[in-house]
Symmetry: C3
Amino acid sequence: MTEIQNGWYLAAWSEEVGRTLTQRWIAGNPVCFYRLSDGTPVAIEDRCPHRRYPLTLGRLDGDVLECNYHGYRFDGTGRCVGVAEQRDTPRAQVLRYRLVERHGAVWIWPGDPSAADESQLPDLSWLDSEQWTGFHGVLPLKARHLLLVENLLDLSHETFLHPTTIGNRAVAATPIEVSTTDRVVSFTRHMVGIEAPPFYVHSMGLTSPVDRWQDGDFYPPGVFILNIRLAPTGTSEPEGYHMKVLYGLTPSVEGECHDFYAVSRDFKLDDADLTQYQHKQQLAVMREDVDALEAQELMVATSRGGAPESSIRSDLAALRARRMLERMRAAEAAAR
Amino acid sequence: MTEIQNGWYLAAWSEEVGRTLTQRWIAGNPVCFYRLSDGTPVAIEDRCPHRRYPLTLGRLDGDVLECNYHGYRFDGTGRCVGVAEQRDTPRAQVLRYRLVERHGAVWIWPGDPSAADESQLPDLSWLDSEQWTGFHGVLPLKARHLLLVENLLDLSHETFLHPTTIGNRAVAATPIEVSTTDRVVSFTRHMVGIEAPPFYVHSMGLTSPVDRWQDGDFYPPGVFILNIRLAPTGTSEPEGYHMKVLYGLTPSVEGECHDFYAVSRDFKLDDADLTQYQHKQQLAVMREDVDALEAQELMVATSRGGAPESSIRSDLAALRARRMLERMRAAEAAAR
Amino acid sequence: MTEIQNGWYLAAWSEEVGRTLTQRWIAGNPVCFYRLSDGTPVAIEDRCPHRRYPLTLGRLDGDVLECNYHGYRFDGTGRCVGVAEQRDTPRAQVLRYRLVERHGAVWIWPGDPSAADESQLPDLSWLDSEQWTGFHGVLPLKARHLLLVENLLDLSHETFLHPTTIGNRAVAATPIEVSTTDRVVSFTRHMVGIEAPPFYVHSMGLTSPVDRWQDGDFYPPGVFILNIRLAPTGTSEPEGYHMKVLYGLTPSVEGECHDFYAVSRDFKLDDADLTQYQHKQQLAVMREDVDALEAQELMVATSRGGAPESSIRSDLAALRARRMLERMRAAEAAAR
């Protein structure tokens, strides 16, 4: 299945892109990432137009990238500016992708650059705000993008997959409210008077009962932002402890994804031990998800007909996201 | 190639099915096996109808199986009886397979349960009779089901693949008689005045020359029973030593099988050393077959046209079995 | 993609073929190689016509090959001469390939034997001439045959992939002359007054500046001969040091090749240390090529449309070779 090309995907954390040529597959495309000497990030198709040799195996000569198979040389726009040692300057152009770098993350638009619309990128300014602290990273996931989307848009799974960290019975037991715009699927879950899960007890030092808010926004095809707030029961929301989790859901190759994450908090900003604790817990949670989704992927990939799919109210946000992705995919297929 | 679904396949030895959810692929289907608290074995499709998550990763709550992704709960008939922590009880049904448990083996009918006909299962009562003793197990085989069928229906291969255990020149040198009914392909090979192969010399303490009978019955798609009798030459058959070998030929995933075996004898019932000796030898023989069939599978899978297939008289039973399987497969394809 | 069948491919070095049955895949076909007792090399399809079991797993009984599954026996022409222990002698014939053995190499024609034309094999008599010495071998390559052809027909890559051994700037900087006949694509590159690359400095003891000739002849589908001459600048070519490199470009399975090589020199014939040095360097060069071509293969295999291919003058020989191979392939497809 061809992945959606016209949309922003998280491609890399800023520190992953530098003067070393780096390959990462994005939505089915091999991409070569690097920075120009002025720091501008560049992403080009990782196939030399000469003989499709990976440009990542080449070298940077100032701002010119030289292919290491036969010496084709490209400037930062992807235009061929000569062939090393030879007189020819063929009219060749390597596909260059639109990038946006904001708040420590590099975003890519794999499709038509002229359609790239920066306004579609949600506000992520907390990522490098002094009011927030946290950590980030990326895990490989051998499951199709849609399974990760649906995982995040139905957090009732926390009750079952993550019972020792962030999930407890209250999550699945509390219905969500769903709202949708043209570009965003949102849900909110407001748990009242519940026991705080271990991760939050440790992070925030709260005593149960607490109130817990989960507010999720999915910007198709690949951005999910979760706002988590906890507070002693009865406190109004704005006074609670606040965490923001960004997930970048980026298809890599057929049936696989990059699972980018950034976890931020607005409290105990200087507590490095807490950052370390949260990072360890986050990775444990994500590995539970990776194991689950990879097992699910095999069942989805091998499914032939069989029983009709069953859905319940807690699937509403995920189903809307699925339909939005289907529409985007159909529109791209129609345009080809 | 779609495997035959309407037929009995050996799914598990009774002790393999218990209160732990266990996955096994049967004829292209992922199946979750377990027992209800009253001991009844259950087999359901290992895909939750909610989001196709493997049910084997869930847990048993009494006789209710709860999916560990979002809490769908199923009773022993596969009917959804609720979703943990949630109010919805969706009308969902997981596919449940017909099982029969007899004499220590669990048999599955992957196809239409209403077509399941227990009378098609041959008599296997010796498996737990006090007149017989033996051992059983299962090996994985990375070769298509048909290659295993043909291996067992042409035992002339014992001469070449198993010369140090059960085969000698007499096997290939002795023609078979073949008979066929609607449901069974049978052959018999009666070797007279031959040298006893090492396995039988050790097992039975016979002195050559001996007479040896091999009587095989194949019940398509997946049951093969071999009756082996040896006796001093001139003795009438009923007085000979008798062994029965059951093979369960169960397709798993594309191009692979489960190779179930149960080897029984009606002599030296209390001789545990002999059981151990025979088990070790049986595994050695089966590993020779596994190596051979996996090498053959590669050649069959990559074959394009080439020389026409050649057959001789000793192939008669295998060819009839092949045609019977082709008819069953064609009938199922026509019914879809 | 079906490989070209009607053409000579290097199948083995003579010492690789003996009385041990040996399997090698050639242009998509599994081939069983052995020698008759009089030393004649034989190549037959490695599938018994009975049940497609690999004949390589069988055994030689004099000049008769006996299949180890059910005892089919074949003479040196591939004709079935009986079945061990059985009375039948089926009319079966295993596909036998045309072979030519010359100068220490065994060549195979996988296609129609009646079309095999020995005159298409170029003169390789230096391989076992007393005027030459050298070494040979074979490496596996997980890249399609065409990539290896194009690699060898555009040696400008030496400048970039092999800068520490045989390549320097002069190679890419010097244009080639290309000529073509019905059956051969030839190029010549004459470098004048250049620095000698390290491999040649060590091999020949030359002092820069030198003149260097690279004359390549490609005989589609699978033979490439490179004549390398170096001499002090100003010397006429015939007095130079001369090396001949034969490459056998033999497709094995889909997307993979055998990369045969034989490197010969007409100087320092008794210098075993030099042979060892050159062999080590040759393998280092070839491993650089293997790494490059395997990386390129992934990009070619996953490429969908994308930027149009760009070519320059140094591609001329490779482009002609590509078209010649396309014509051969199309002719075979039309004939089927």
